[in-house]
């Protein structure tokens, strides 16, 4: 395994844990599967469709997202929106990430 691959696989692992949070935050504005991929990508969080599409359904089943079919346009699309429960969870997760970042920075400073 060369250096790039090593970085790649660990970066993936770190990001995987934040995809849920990213989706919940992004979908405070209603969005559909492919559009969400683009939004996340533009925000610097590239995620694969095969991760996001099933994830949206699972989050909906847990009541963190709600969905609605939009059939006004030529292609019917399923729009998701973060529920109040989802927003609450997102706020908590965001706090966890910020704590983590601070802790890691402390660790980093302590070693240097």
């Amino acid at each position: 395994m060369d250096k790039d691959e090593l970085l790649g696989s660990h970066r993936e692992e770190l990001r995987r844990g934040t995809v849920v949070l990213a989706c919940l935050l992004a979908l405070r504005e209603p969005g559909y599967g492919y559009g969400l991929l683009k939004t996340l990508d533009a925000a610097g969080i590239p995620v694969d469709g095969n991760t996001v599409y099933p994830l949206l359904r699972r989050l909906e089943e847990r009541g963190l997202l709600q969905s609605e079919w939009n059939t006004d346009e030529s292609r019917p699309r399923k729009f998701y929106r973060t529920t109040p429960a989802g927003q609450e969870l997102a706020a908590q997760l965001l706090a966890v990430v910020e704590d983590l970042t601070r802790s890691l920075q402390t660790l980093d400073g302590g070693i240097r």
Partner: protein, 335 residues
Amino acid sequence: MTDTTWTERYLAAVLRSIPESRRGDVERELRSSIEDGIEERVANGEDRVAAERAVLEGLGDPGRLAAAYTGRPNYLIGPALFPVYSHIIPRLIAISAPIVLIAVSALKIIAGTEYLGALAAGTSATIGVVIQLAFWGTLFFVFLERADAARETREQIASAVGTWTVDRLPEPSNKRVSVSETVGEVLTVLITAGGLLFVRSLEVNTPTGRIPLLDPSLLDVFVPYLAGVLVVLGAVHLLVYVVGHWTYPLATVHGILAIAWGAPIAYVALQGQLVNPAFASAIGWPGLAAGDQPAMLAIAVGVTLVTAWEVFDAFRRARGASLAGFASAILSRGA
């Protein structure tokens, strides 16, 4: 044509393992997501066929996507090895089971056990071997998946299997059953029925009168029963044609009928109740009416094999050609 069939085949491959109740919604959403992806690539100047290929391959193995949708973890054996595992173990079992069945039964017969007992011993040995193979085979793959020592092997297997490409999509399953297939099946049933009537009519002329080949006790109930099962079997084949393809319920009914036809014949043959004792002595082969005859064992084994194949074949068709597609993909990569 290819531009539509890839997506259709991909959707079919994903939806196959998603519960019926959620299929419609998942299909609609996934289809629109795939089309969104293709559209954007085409808008960026990509060729439509290449765009479709890239989008589907970006989504990856449909089986894994379906597992993500259903939240079903396939992680006792991880994603890199699972395709290999699910490919090898069933084949290993399919190859060894008949060998064990035949070998153990044959050894028992040589050792002097009567045929029915030998067949029972063979069957129980086969069940044991299947369980052992499934267990140790699975354990081996779990080890390969987890053990640090096996990392190199794991990576070799993963790279040999390679990343998923659309070429591995199974052929469209549930292909419409053709007229010629149905005619062939119904003809087979008719020929079998004809054979049954022919065997029933076989007799030998002796000074004391005509003696039928089949044991007289079979003529009133057994033979009409077999004929009745055949009629229903023929009807099932017609029903399959009307429905258009094999389904699991149809394959189940077909399997029950096949067993209802084959099992009694094998049983009666092994019990020595198939051939009329008077007929056997008239042709100077009195042993023929007994169950412990190679001829009777051959009939029982033959009927059992044909029945097993009939049951297997219908389920295989109901399931579609998914394994075949995967196998040919691996072979074509290896070549």
